[in-house]
Amino acid sequence: MRVSSILLPVVAIVLTVSLLCVWFYPSVQDFMAGNTMWNGIRDFCEEFGAGNIDSLEELPEPSEGVVLVTIPYIEYSAAEQKWLREFVEGGGTLLLMDDYGYGNGLLARFGLKTRFINRPLLDPLFCYKNQSMPRITDFAAGMTGSGVNIVMLNHATGLVDTEEVAIIAWSSGTSFVDDNENGVRDAGELPGPWPVAAEVRLGRGRLIMVADPSIIINTMVGRDDNYAFVKHLIESEGEPAAILLDRGHLPRTPLDVSQARLVDTRAVLSSPYALVGITAMIFAVTAGYTLRKGETSD
C-alpha cells in the first residue's frame, strides 16, 4: 500500500474529526454564552435574549433603547472608548460589570471620578458560605417595588468616589476591602458599607456600574434576587429594544476562537456563490467518477 494513497484519507478523517470536535465540544471559558457549566452565561443570555457582538463596531445606531453589557477583562482601545461614549450619549444603556478588569479606564474617559476598587470586597457575616460571596441587602429607595431584597455577589469589589453618581446598592457594615488580599481585616482596611452598584446619566443615556460581573454566571443568576436585580437594572426605564453582550473584551480559549471562526466560515459557505461553487465541484467529481467507472467496466 503506497503512502500517497492513504495520506489523503487520513488527512480527511483527522480534519473531519477536528471540525466536529470544535463544533460540538462545549466551551469551559468564563462568561461564554455557549458555556453551560457553572461559570458560563448561557442562562443569562437565554433568559434575557441577549445577543453577542465581537466588536464594538457592531454597536447599532441609533443606540436609544439598546442595552450593552460589557465585562472589560481586555483593555478598551481609544477608539472603543469613543464609540462607547457615543453609544451612551446617544441614548443607550451601558451596563459596565467589572471587578478586576479595565473598567476604570473607561470611567476616566467618561470624565467620572468614580472608580472600581479592584480589590476583594469581603463580608464575613452577611455572606453565603464564605466571606468572598457577600450578600447585599441595602438598596436605594428607587429599588422599592422591584422585588429585590438580597443580591449575592461572588468575589466582588466595590466602588469609590461616588459623590457624582447615584448609588443603587451598598454592602453591609461588616464588609471591608481587603487591600492586601490576605483574607483578614487588618488595621487600615476600612469597613463598609461600600457601594457596589451605581448609575449616572450621560447625555441621553445612562451608565450603570456593577462591581461584580459574576452575578450573571449560570450558578449565580438564579440565586437570591440576582435575576430580579439585573432585570431591574436593564428594564428600569422600559423594556429595551435589544440587549447585547460584548464578547470582544473577554479572553477566549483557542477552542472559543475556533468555534467563532467555524461559525463565520459556515456563514460564508452559506452564501449563494459559495453554494454554487460547491455544487459545481460535487457535480464535476461525481460526473468524473461516473464516466471513469463506465470506461473501465468489462
Binding site: 487520513v10 470536535c21 465540544y25 457553572w38 478586576y100 468575589h155 449565580m220 464535476a284 470506461e295
Partner: protein, 664 residues
C-alpha cells in the same frame, strides 16, 4: 495488513491529539469567582460577636433607629446551624431594651422637671412607672445574656480550638451587657432613693398645699376664635394674689396670667391654628421666688376643648401618561362636605418635590404643567397641597404619574417583489399617541443600500432606495427602518420589514454557469479521461472473444465456448494463436490511441475494422486482412500455423508503420 494497522494507529493517534488540544483550559484566573454549590462553608464567630457589640453600642446610645436596623438584619447573617434561635432572641431583646432605655431616660428627665415644679404627686406617679420599665429592661437584659451565652457555646468560646480573637470578641459583648446593667442599676438607685427619702412625702413636709380651678367657655370654638378662661388659686384655704398661673395647652405652656387680689384669674384664649379636633387646657401653679419652700404646686383638672375647623378633601386626577417636553393637565376638586366653600384657594403643585405651580384656584381646577425635555422616564410623584387658610385646614394629595416617550408607529407601503439591481420606492407614515413625529429622520437600509428622509409635519415621508449588486440570488431580506424623532416626547424606533428580493443579474449568471457545466463538462471529462485510459488502462476496450473447446458428450463431440479475453494474450506467448492475437491487439491499441476511437462492447471486430477504414487510409486493407484472420481463429476450429503467424506479424507491422507515417 500491516499497512492497514499503521493507518488505523495513525488516525487514532491524530484523533486523540485533537481531542486533547480541543479540551483547553479556561484562560481567566480561577479567583474571579467560585461555584457556590461546592464552596466550603466558613463561619466567622468573631464577625457575629462584633456585630453583637456594635449593636449594643447603639443600645447604650438609645439609638432606636440604628439598633432596629442592625438587629433587624440578623436573620440574613450566615451563622452556624443551631444559632438561629439565639440570634433571633438577641435581636428581639436588643430592640426591646433600646426602646425601654429610651423611655426610662425620657421619664427620668420628665420627673426632674416635675420635681422642679413641685409637682410631686405627678413625679411620684411617674417614678413608679419608670421603675416598672426598669424591671422590664432587666428581663430583656437577662434574655440578651442567655442568647450571648448560647452563641458563645456554639461558637466554642473558651474551648481549645477557639482563637484569642474569638474570646476577645465574646468578652467585648459581655462588657457591653455589663454597661447596660450598670446604667439600669443607676437609674433604679436614683429613683428608689428619691422615693425613699429625698422625694415624695419627705419633700412635702412643711409645705402648704395649693388648689387651682379652671373654667373655659364655650366648650367648643373654631380655630382663631377666642374662648374665655377663669379660675381661682388658693393655698391653705387662703387666696393667693399676685401669683403667676400658666395656662397649658396639650401640656405645654401657652399663656401666663397673674391672679388678682382675691386669687381669681381670667382672660381670653385664642385657639391656635393647630387643626386638631380636641385641645387639652389646664392651669398650673408652681411656687416661684418667695413661694418656694412655702407652697406646693397645683394643676387644675384637664378640660377638653372641642376645636372646630373646616375640613376638605382634595381629589387630583392626572392623564394616564405624560411625555417629556409636553404639557400635562393636573385636575383637582376640593370637597368641603357640609362646610361652606371658600372662594379661590392658594395651592402648590410639586413635581417630584419641585414646585412647578403656585397660585389661587377655584374649588374645581385644572392647571397644566410642562415637563422638562430631559426628564427621566418612569414613575414620578405629583403633589398638590393647599395651605391652611383661616378655618380651613390644610390638605395634601399625591398621585403617581407615568412619564414615557411615545413610540412611533410606522406604516410602510412596499411592493411584493423587489428586483436588484434597481430602485425601491417607499412611502410611509409615522404616527404615535402623542401625535405624528414631524421632522423625524427616517433612515432605511436594505441589503447595504441606505436612504434617509425627513418626515413631514403630518408624519408622511416618501423616498427611494437604489439597490446595487450584491451576492444574493433570491430570498427575503429585512428592510431596516430607523426613526430618530426630533421631539423629546418621541422615542426612537428601530424596526424591520421583510422584503422579497430577486437579484436578476446573479440568477442569470448562475443559470449560464450551470448550463455551461452541463453541456461542456462531460465532453471535457471524456476527452481527458479517454487519453488517460489509452496510457494506463491497457486494452480494456477489446471485448472477450469466445473460443471453442471440444468435449466428449457421450457419443458426440460438443463445441463448448470458452471466453478468452484478448487482453490476456500477449505476442510473446509460444502459442501461434496467442501470438496472432497479440499482433492484432497491438494494432488495435495503436489505432485507438491515434484516432481517439472507442471499441464499443457490442461491436464485432469486422465492424470495428470497417468503422476505422476511413481513418486508416492505405493500410486499411491490411488491417482488414488481419481482422479476418483473427476472426477465423475465433469462430472456427482452424489452428494457425507458423506461416499464419509470420503473415500476421507482417500485416500488423505494415499497419503500424502505415499509421505512424500518417497523421490520423
Amino acid at each position: 495488513m500491516s499497512g492497514r494497522n499503521a493507518v488505523k494507529r495513525l488516525v487514532g493517534g491524530a484523533v486523540c491529539l485533537v481531542l486533547f488540544l480541543v479540551a483547553g483550559h479556561p484562560a481567566l484566573a480561577a479567583e474571579l469567582h467560585e461555584d457556590p454549590a461546592t464552596a466550603e462553608p466558613v463561619y466567622s464567630g468573631v464577625a457575629l460577636l462584633d456585630y453583637y457589640t456594635t449593636s449594643l453600642d447603639g443600645v447604650l446610645r438609645k439609638d432606636t433607629a440604628e439598633v432596629e436596623y442592625r438587629l433587624g438584619k440578623i436573620p440574613l447573617a450566615y451563622i452556624p446551624p443551631g444559632l438561629e434561635a439565639a440570634t433571633g432572641d438577641f435581636a428581639s431583646s436588643g430592640i426591646a431594651i433600646t426602646y425601654l432605655l429610651k423611655d426610662i431616660y425620657r421619664d427620668f428627665n420628665r420627673r426632674q422637671e416635675l420635681v422642679g415644679q413641685f409637682r410631686l404627686a405627678e413625679a411620684e406617679e411617674l417614678t413608679d412607672m419608670t421603675l416598672a420599665c426598669i424591671d422590664q429592661a432587666y428581663a430583656e437584659l437577662a434574655r440578651l445574656r442567655e442568647a450571648t451565652d448560647t452563641t458563645g457555646l456554639v461558637l466554642g468560646v473558651g474551648s481549645v480550638r477557639a482563637g484569642a480573637g474569638l474570646t476577645e470578641a465574646y468578652n467585648r459583648v459581655l462588657e457591653r451587657l455589663d454597661k447596660i446593667e450598670s446604667m439600669l442599676a443607676l437609674y433604679e438607685k436614683l429613683l428608689e432613693n428619691w422615693l425613699a427619702g429625698a422625694g415624695g412625702s419627705g419633700v412635702t413636709a412643711g409645705l402648704k398645699p395649693t388648689e387651682i380651678t379652671l373654667r373655659v367657655t364655650p366648650a367648643a370654638a373654631y380655630v382663631g376664635d377666642s374662648v374665655e378662661f377663669s379660675g381661682r388659686l388658693t393655698g391653705g384655704g387662703e387666696s393667693l394674689p399676685g401669683r403667676e398661673v400658666d395656662i397649658l395647652l396639650n401640656g405645654t405652656s401657652y399663656a401666663t396670667v397673674i391672679t388678682g387680689a382675691d386669687g381669681y384669674y381670667g382672660g381670653d384664649l385664642s385657639i391656635p391654628y393647630w387643626y386638631s379636633p380636641e385641645l387639652s387646657v389646664q392651669a398650673l401653679y408652681y411656687p416661684r421666688e418667695a413661694d418656694i419652700s412655702l407652697y406646693l404646686s397645683s394643676l387644675s383638672p384637664e378640660i377638653i376643648l372641642s376645636v372646630l375647623f373646616y375640613r376638605s378633601e382634595l381629589e387630583v386626577s392626572l392623564a394616564d401618561r405624560a411625555y417629556p417636553g409636553q404639557a400635562t393637565p393636573v385636575s383637582g376638586r376640593f370637597d368641603y362636605g357640609t362646610s361652606p366653600p371658600p372662594g379661590a384657594r392658594e395651592i402648590e403643585i410639586l413635581f417630584d418635590d419641585i414646585v412647578v405651580f403656585r397660585g389661587p384656584v377655584e374649588p374645581d381646577f385644572s392647571e397644566e404643567i410642562t415637563l422638562a425635555t430631559e426628564m427621566e422616564t418612569g414613575r414620578h410623584l405629583v403633589t398638590v397641597s393647599a395651605a391652611a387658610s383661616g378655618r380651613y385646614a390644610p390638605v395634601v394629595t399625591s398621585v403617581r404619574l407615568d412619564v414615557s416617550r411615545a413610540t412611533p408607529v410606522l406604516e410602510l407601503g412596499l411592493p411584493g417583489l423587489v428586483l436588484a439591481p434597481g430602485r425601491l420606492e417607499i412611502d410611509g407614515r409615522l404616527n404615535s399617541e402623542a401625535g405624528p413625529p414631524a421632522g423625524a429622520v427616517v433612515e432605511l437600509e436594505l441589503g447595504g443600500a441606505v436612504a434617509a428622509v425627513t418626515s413631514a409635519s403630518d408624519g408622511e415621508f416618501s423616498t427611494e432606495i437604489k439597490l446595487g449588486l450584491n451576492t444574493g440570488v433570491i430570498g427575503s431580506q429585512d428592510l431596516v427602518v430607523r426613526v430618530s424623532p426630533q421631539e423629546p416626547w418621541h422615542a426612537a424606533l428601530v424596526t424591520t420589514r421583510p422584503v422579497l428580493m430577486l437579484n436578476w443579474v446573479n440568477c442569470g449568471l448562475i443559470l449560464v454557469a450551470l448550463a455551461a457545466l452541463g453541456v461542456f463538462l462531460p465532453g471535457v471529462l471524456r476527452r481527458r479521461l479517454g487519453l488517460r485510459l489509452g496510457r494506463t488502462t491497457g486494452p480494456a476496450a477489446i471485448p472477450a472473444v469466445p473460443r471453442y473447446d471440444f468435449v466428449e458428450q457421450g457419443s458426440r463431440r460438443e463445441a463448448v465456448p470458452v471466453a478468452v479475453p484478448l487482453a490476456e494474450t500477449t505476442g510473446d506467448d509460444g502459442d501461434p494463436r496467442r501470438r496472432i492475437f497479440g499482433f492484432y491487439r497491438r494494432a488495435v491499441r495503436l489505432i485507438l490511441k491515434l484516432s481517439s476511437a472507442v471499441f464499443r462492447p457490442q461491436q464485432t471486430l469486422r465492424e470495428f475494422a470497417r468503422e476505422q477504414s476511413g481513418a486508416l487510409g492505405t493500410v486499411a486493407r491490411y488491417f482488414m486482412e488481419l481482422t479476418g484472420l483473427v476472426e477465423r481463429l475465433i469462430y472456427s476450429h482452424y489452428e494457425p500455423t507458423g506461416e499464419d503467424e509470420g503473415y500476421s506479424r507482417e500485416l500488423a507491422q505494415t499497419v503500424e508503420e502505415g499509421l505512424k507515417g500518417e497523421s490520423l
